[in-house]
Symmetry: D2
Subunit: 365 residues, 4 copies
Amino acid sequence: MAGNTLGELFRVTNFGESHGPAIGCVIDGCPPGLPLTEADIQIELDRRRPGTSRHVTQRQEPDQVEILSGVYQGVTSGTPIALLIRNQDARSKDYSNIAETFRPGHADYTYWHKFGVRDPRGGGRSSARLTAPTVAAGAVAKLWLKQRFNIRVRGFMSQLGPIPIEFQSWDHVHANPFFAANATQIDELEAYMDQLRKDGDSVGARIDLVAEGVPVGWGEPIYGRLDADIAHAMMGLNAVKGVEIGAGFASVAQRGSEHGDELDPTGFGTNHAGGVLGGITTGQDIRVSIAIKPTSSIRTPRQSIDKAGTPTVVETHGRHDPCVGIRATPVAEGLLAIVLMDQALRHRAQNADVHVDTPAIPAHR
Amino acid sequence: MAGNTLGELFRVTNFGESHGPAIGCVIDGCPPGLPLTEADIQIELDRRRPGTSRHVTQRQEPDQVEILSGVYQGVTSGTPIALLIRNQDARSKDYSNIAETFRPGHADYTYWHKFGVRDPRGGGRSSARLTAPTVAAGAVAKLWLKQRFNIRVRGFMSQLGPIPIEFQSWDHVHANPFFAANATQIDELEAYMDQLRKDGDSVGARIDLVAEGVPVGWGEPIYGRLDADIAHAMMGLNAVKGVEIGAGFASVAQRGSEHGDELDPTGFGTNHAGGVLGGITTGQDIRVSIAIKPTSSIRTPRQSIDKAGTPTVVETHGRHDPCVGIRATPVAEGLLAIVLMDQALRHRAQNADVHVDTPAIPAHR
Amino acid sequence: MAGNTLGELFRVTNFGESHGPAIGCVIDGCPPGLPLTEADIQIELDRRRPGTSRHVTQRQEPDQVEILSGVYQGVTSGTPIALLIRNQDARSKDYSNIAETFRPGHADYTYWHKFGVRDPRGGGRSSARLTAPTVAAGAVAKLWLKQRFNIRVRGFMSQLGPIPIEFQSWDHVHANPFFAANATQIDELEAYMDQLRKDGDSVGARIDLVAEGVPVGWGEPIYGRLDADIAHAMMGLNAVKGVEIGAGFASVAQRGSEHGDELDPTGFGTNHAGGVLGGITTGQDIRVSIAIKPTSSIRTPRQSIDKAGTPTVVETHGRHDPCVGIRATPVAEGLLAIVLMDQALRHRAQNADVHVDTPAIPAHR
Amino acid sequence: MAGNTLGELFRVTNFGESHGPAIGCVIDGCPPGLPLTEADIQIELDRRRPGTSRHVTQRQEPDQVEILSGVYQGVTSGTPIALLIRNQDARSKDYSNIAETFRPGHADYTYWHKFGVRDPRGGGRSSARLTAPTVAAGAVAKLWLKQRFNIRVRGFMSQLGPIPIEFQSWDHVHANPFFAANATQIDELEAYMDQLRKDGDSVGARIDLVAEGVPVGWGEPIYGRLDADIAHAMMGLNAVKGVEIGAGFASVAQRGSEHGDELDPTGFGTNHAGGVLGGITTGQDIRVSIAIKPTSSIRTPRQSIDKAGTPTVVETHGRHDPCVGIRATPVAEGLLAIVLMDQALRHRAQNADVHVDTPAIPAHR
């Protein structure tokens, strides 16, 4: 499989380069009958859009999505949904000094060796801009999951660099540029970011995701496990270096008597599983956490080589995110929704006839 | 895709239940011309085999592999390689008391709701026994990677429960039951395990993997990234709850000026990337770390329900691993090899004609 | 995709060589809950088995199938079903004279160039023996289609070499070695075959297939059309050189006013469509016809080359089918069932929520 | 797989509806380094374009293709190539009388039952208009095959309705509206078509395809055979009801002594195989023939039902092709090229290391 398609039954094929004519995706496998408009998708894209705070890249892209196919009279027709986003503000001149060099920690070097074609403008296809189509497709998946199963997918920033961010309420997430579920630490985070920008450096972040209302039974062992698909999608997101489900790496030091979530008819006691056991959903909230590395495009001079292999020093100017993680939350939510929808359809194909008398245990007591 | 196949071009289809007639796999896509014997595969299976130390399950399975197809006169023929392992020692009677109950933290509950068929004997298909065919297929991949590219895939236990295990030398890994690359902490680990067994409890572990010699350029952005495939395979391994590449979750607090690996013609300075940038290999060692949760099958009484939904208490007797992580290393190595071989073939399909003059930077200075 | 897997959701992976230890398949995606025994599969295999009449190859293979996994207490568990058939009667010595030569019209030459490994014994993987696992998997599909949808898949020989065979009744198909739906032409066909054997030559055949009871709506335009999948499966069957749906090549000279099947509430008037329109089932009987070429393994001397490229003459002795088409009917039925089951599951995934008030038109008035 | 993607390594995802905003495709898997411009693709689209003769639909669509991604500085970058064709001339009013009825022999009825959404305008996604993106993708494949392997893919009409068309020379194909390789029968064909239009009826056609220069060894038995893939692609083309390879249905009555193509070092004697043996290319010309049924959209009144199931009579007015086959040749060529390119990449992945000393036999003596 030429690697630009995600999913088996709900399939998203992504295309575009950062400074090409357009970016977008084709969604194949969305069942017919889902009400869908460009506004539904635009809402999610606007959450991710650059230029919406001083902490993210100052490239001005309206990211207006156009639905080219797959929707008839405001409802999905069951045919492929092509979504198009034209690139508007591509200032190529800011990248001229890096055409011949490779930025440390960036994909320049690997893309050059793999493709033999160097598109230095804004990272070409390795750019985080290519997460916009993922968000668009994720919007469709979120809608269907909500309508069909009343599933809710949400995320928040749980750590910015060295600063843990306490979860206070979902209501705060939209009210600050960080997607933090917090109202009292925002000034601290803003100050930290301002200093970072002055230093010409960057930092990482941790994002947590929660999917509520997922029925028990989704996931296809042994290789098509739901948690495996989630890890695949998340680790495939630009700049992600780690993925955890439930207790994650804390499981290493836990004892079985502590880790295993007890259950009774009123619900599960704990959720160390993160909603997945044996690769299949339990009905508990699905809980994922991802580690995002610091951006490689910084003003600090770094040692590297150029295309001839000669040692050189690289400094990146132009418009950049000092913390890519700040805009990652909507993208990670979209990915989780895409994976869940794909697994929902797969479950429907294989297990639609399965009925057991055992009641499904509620997620929370 | 019915989820029992891993890979696109080097494809492994796994079959079998813990107490059925046999387990095994079919490997499709191994190129012709690779010398292969049952002994080559048996070596890897024996590393994983139960009953080889007092710290692992005492079920006695010889796990003798038989090659049913795909090899002619000691060399792969390019046709599917079917590997068969007959089940010998399946003592079903030890599981009779759990036929009607669901063990907390185990896949019993989720498999019941998904398939409507409860095979209580040894966990059925959710059993860790089904990692044996993965190891067998991984053995083939390891051979091909070694022969074709001189790639070496190895792993070791880096933490047992709360005890970090220092990496001293690869030479120690085979000399203790933990796959620890260490000679001085073994007694400490043995004592810890003995106490755990007395307590009737279990604990988790962390396993580190290293692949050396992987050329630059493997991986298929944006959704078929190599790190995404690695995460998929690892998170799909029984009991894994977290996956990291390179600096992993430490990246969150790192600054870009520290995280990005500088490079010069003599090599890379550091390896926070873990060998992957933009989803493509850099030529650096690929470094992966996984978190394995504690086993759910413990003697400690745990609250749960039975098939009718009635509250009950579960205690598991019989033969069990107090630490599943102890046997995970060969399986994780096999998975990493399978993913790398699949990506090697995909790279060969798409990028065989790419040649750039830039020298590939050595992994180490 | 390494080409040994058929299907997307009901997936069959075939393995084995004609004279290797065993042949078989792994079926992934069969939903749980289907009653299944080895006897159910053996019935279909016995229809195909060599040595059952003097008109087919005299190799004696019991073709006893063993279920290795995926069935628990007589019912499918929703996990992969591995089916094994051991090879018993492999007389390699009959093939010694062809080890270095390529038989005209046979896959020897192409397999040599593709794999660089020549297994001369019985054709290796190119042998028609490898249709046995397909029949086994087809048996499972037939059962599920019958149980779940009351679909019936049957075939018959409609032409033997130059002799058209009139369809008189399905009741005759099992009563002659040709799978002819005819009682009055059998002596004529037997005499023709005897002469052919004396001549040391071979001839082709045409097989017709009918699937009754398929609901309207299966098929996934534009590339996953049902007729496309049928054509793929059929043309992939050994020795097939042509596939028709409905009126087939007669459509070329037909006028639209004649070809288009009129419909009224009591049913369709004709069935030139063959049960498929726009790639989707109409509810009419699905009608397929395939052309099978004459076997290449004949006693008649033929010009060819050897492995060094030197001109030579080839005569094939040993046990061979003078008409491969004689045993093709059960295999073609199995393939049609596999394709239909795969499409059924795909339809269930994508279109389970679609309900229209328009009544489905009956297949026949 | 949601059925709108064709291919495994050279993958084409098609989107769009006949009267939606746009149609197009995303090509994933084209290797980097192929020179490609919009003009290269436009040439092929113009061959298919409606309104170019009085014998085809009079809808005026410029079918101007735009490359949205995947090409940088006139050369493919190895990233997905998105091709867009805006719909211009969509006269919906001509279809108002069929909104509630189903045309016999058309996909209206099946699409309604499958999707529950009836887009009556121009057939929605079932329209032959959706072959334009296939032609566009086929243009890319043709270029790559030519550049990389010097392969040439061409087709011609070999029969129009009841009239066989003699092959005289490839030079004539572009010089008449039928893609006939003939200069002396054109008037006869024109007269036949004029009468057909007066009668308000339609007729079928037979198209032959030839691929020259394909190396020996492409194809992936047993289910990924090249002829199987060809049949899949061809039978999936709108209005195709039959596919033949080489001698096709003539093989039925042929004897093995006649059918098998003899070979000597100077070449193959005949080509009944059609260039494929055992599912793998021989190096001979690949020869395919397809049967195209007559269009269902005719002025002749036909019995049918409406959405409520009530009997009705249907006459279709508006712009229609009296013979869909007239424009099929460029589409069928494109499909053959796509399949060959996909198989070329798959062969490169799996068999790149295979080298045998036996010389490849030339296609022609």
